[in-house]
């Protein structure tokens, strides 16, 4: 098997209940047909606005949620619909790092118990004893192993996230789903945690699915990036291709929102309006209601993921021009050509 993780057509629909006796009155298409692969030791960034389905995708991959449709193949094994007992083996190879370090650690347990929990519930007895293993893990994530007996409230946010990472690594997984692991942290701490995860990823040959809502965080961590919008992947490809030549208008808008370290004046594309409701997504291309390039065809046909000359795959009828233009002019040109008040603003 070449890929460690292979996701095809993954779908999650949440029923909306209401009215008399909780009848089903609608369906939220949180994730609607997502395909991607992750290789052993590779890193994939899953990026998008809140509500685009990236967290739901991550939870389905970690099998904390039951997928409505599609297939998840992990290490050659179909894990889409495993029951709880069959999942036990999987839990030791696939772990999760959570977003909020203040809610992901049980306040009533010592750090030692928290980190040892995956070992205990799986009945794993490490060679030197559980305590030695936990201390080794604490050292691995840059914490003092003597802090074994302390409680989470005695640690700062960044230290707590290190504890969460140590817990995820306790069972030596081969894939880690990191659900916005730095979003809840101070910017100064974010870099430390990202660097720690990079070091661990290299040293332990871990594969990562890294969920984030901004492209800047993912840039330093992921080799491949998938951009999601309203339950679909709109662009997926190598980091360099996506950052240098974003082909989907949405990716371009996202990139323009991230501050640029190099100080080049980049035009900002401001998207108007909100993400449409996943209860009733727009026909055709889902981004068309906010897209400055949308034409009649976008409402009729849903664009498939197609490979563009720069290497990445894009779901757009009119991918951004592949000639490397000076950044920013596209938006100007386009907004000039279509006098619509909702279009991109400079």
């Amino acid at each position: 098997m070449s890929h460690l993780l292979e996701v095809t057509g993954l779908t999650k629909h949440f029923p909306v209940r209401g009215g008399w006796l909780g009848r089903r009155v609608g369906v939220i298409r949180a994730v609607d047909g997502v395909d991607f692969t992750v290789d052993r030791g590779a890193t994939l960034g899953l990026v998008g606005e809140s509500g685009c389905g990236k967290t739901t995708t991550g939870r389905m991959v970690a099998r904390l949620l039951e997928p409505t449709g599609g297939r998840i193949v992990f290490d050659g094994e179909d894990i889409t619909h495993l029951n709880r007992r069959e999942l036990r083996g999987l839990r030791q190879r696939l772990q999760v790092i959570f977003q909020d370090p203040y809610s992901s650690l049980n306040p009533r347990q010592t750090v030692g118990r928290i980190v040892a929990m995956p070992l205990v519930v799986n009945g794993i007895k490490p060679p030197g004893g559980i305590k030695a293993r936990v201390q080794e893990l604490l050292e691995l994530v840059g914490l003092n192993p003597e802090h074994y007996n302390r409680y989470p409230h005695e640690f700062s946010g960044g230290q707590r996230q290190r504890i969460g990472i140590a817990r995820a690594l306790a069972v030596e997984p081969s894939l880690v789903v990191a659900d916005e692991p730095v979003s809840a942290l101070d910017v100064s701490i974010q870099a430390q945690i990202i660097n720690l995860m990079r070091r661990l990823q290299r040293d332990l040959n871990l594969a990562f699915v890294f969920i984030a809502h901004d492209l800047a965080v993912v840039r330093h961590f992921c080799q491949r990036i998938a951009v999601m919008y309203l339950g679909r992947i709109v662009e997926i490809g190598d980091r360099d291709a996506i950052y240098a030549t974003p082909a989907h208008p949405y990716t371009k808008a996202l990139l323009s929102a991230a501050p640029d370290v190099h100080g080049e004046a980049r035009e900002r594309i401001r998207l108007e309006g909100d993400v449409p409701t996943p209860l009733n997504p727009p026909s055709g291309c889902r981004f068309r209601t906010r897209c400055w390039k949308a034409v009649a065809r976008c409402a009729e046909a849903e664009p498939p993921l197609r490979t563009v000359p720069t290497g990445q795959q894009v779901a757009c009828h009119f991918p951004e021009s592949q000639q490397s233009q000076p950044t920013g002019t596209t938006a100007d040109a386009v907004s000039g050509s279509r006098p619509d008040p909702r279009t991109a603003e400079v």
Partner: protein
């Protein structure tokens, strides 16, 4: 948030949450290796020990419990039993001789008018009855409430709906009217009107009635707590690590429920003590010959004008008992303040 010394192995000095501990961080400089982690429970205990109201009320409660537990011993040392009558110390109209209801070296709280029983030993045994009924019902209430609350909160769905419906139904029943109507009926179901009803049966009947009517508050509280805890990521982390439902309920959730459960327990006790006294006052609780504070007060009202000490002494005892429980319960809630639980 502080910048960490990550790879160097220098122990990052720990800042306790402001307010989480009432203690200054004494273990800062000099001896970094001796820092003992304190659990939220230990911190609450530290705060409780520093609260004078809590300590005084706790002392009073311990005293009351010791008196109740040691009632037979006190009886032996005191030399007077609850059934002994001292008619020779009453005047011709049945009132005790001497001041304040006949208080003397032999009868510390005086005698009851009419029958001539010793009031002190009656109060001691009355405390025993009150505390036994209140403690047993409170524990029973908590057990039923916690189990049903956890089930409703964690499982949700139809089970949650059914339990909620039962809670609403129970809450809609008027407690005292139900007791007045139902207790005599239940007793007549089990015993012939001519037979004497054993006192223990009446006590257990009260306990069951209290538990049946009051588990709902605990169940609601626990259900709400579980609903919010269930969404916390540490529960999800346990699931992601492969933990079973038992581990999640009892290892991850239950320890986080300890604080609200303890507070409910300590605040349930005074409620039951007053309710039991009220029922006995209404003559549907504990009856003769079981000594009881509520019935003592009821009996004393006949003699209120002639012998106010008879009302005052059991009344003050009951008041102190309930006050101590309430003050301690409040202090406990402050000490276990959920805001410091993070």
């Amino acid at each position: 948030m502080r910048v960490m010394t990550a790879q160097t192995g220098v122990p990052p000095s720990i800042e306790p949450d402001p307010g989480a501990t009432g203690e200054p961080a004494t273990e800062s400089a000099g001896a970094p290796e001796r820092f003992v982690g304190r659990s939220p429970g230990q911190l609450a205990w530290l705060r409780l020990r520093r609260d004078p109201v809590a300590m005084v009320s706790a002392g009073l409660l311990i005293f009351f419990f010791l008196v109740a537990l040691g009632a037979p011993l006190i009886e032996r040392l005191y030399g007077v039993g609850p059934r002994d009558r001292f008619s020779e110390l009453l005047d011709s109209r049945g009132f005790p001789l001497g001041y304040a209801g006949g208080i003397s070296g032999d009868h510390w709280f005086g005698l009851t008018p009419g029958v001539g029983r010793d009031l002190f030993i009656h109060v001691v045994y009355g405390l025993r009855t009150s505390l036994f009924i209140a403690t047993t019902s409170a524990v029973l209430t908590i057990v039923i409430g916690v189990v049903l609350g956890i089930i409703a909160g964690y499982l949700g769905g139809v089970i949650d709906a059914v339990i909620n419906w039962i809670i609403d139904f129970t809450l809609a029943m008027p407690f005292f009217i139900f007791c007045m109507a139902a207790v005599p009926v239940v007793i007549s179901r089990f015993f012939d009107p001519r037979d004497e009803v054993p006192p223990s049966f009446r006590m257990w009947l009260l306990i069951v009635v209290f538990a049946l009517f009051n588990w709902t508050y605990t169940a609601r509280l626990v259900r709400g707590q579980v609903l919010s805890l269930r969404e916390r990521e540490f529960v999800e982390a346990a699931r992601a690590a492969g933990a079973g439902t038992g581990h999640i309920l009892f290892r991850e959730l239950l320890p986080n429920l300890a604080a609200p459960i303890l507070v409910t327990l300590s605040l349930n006790l005074p409620t039951f003590i007053t309710a039991e006294a009220a029922l006995s006052f209404l003559n549907i609780g504990v009856v003769e010959p079981t000594p009881d504070l509520g019935r003592l007060i009821f009996d004393s009202t006949t003699y209120l004008r002639a012998d106010p000490a008879y009302t005052l002494i059991p009344g003050t005892t009951l008041f102190l008992l309930v006050l101590a429980f309430n003050l301690f319960g409040d202090a406990l809630r402050d000490a276990l303040d959920p805001r410091s639980g993070r």
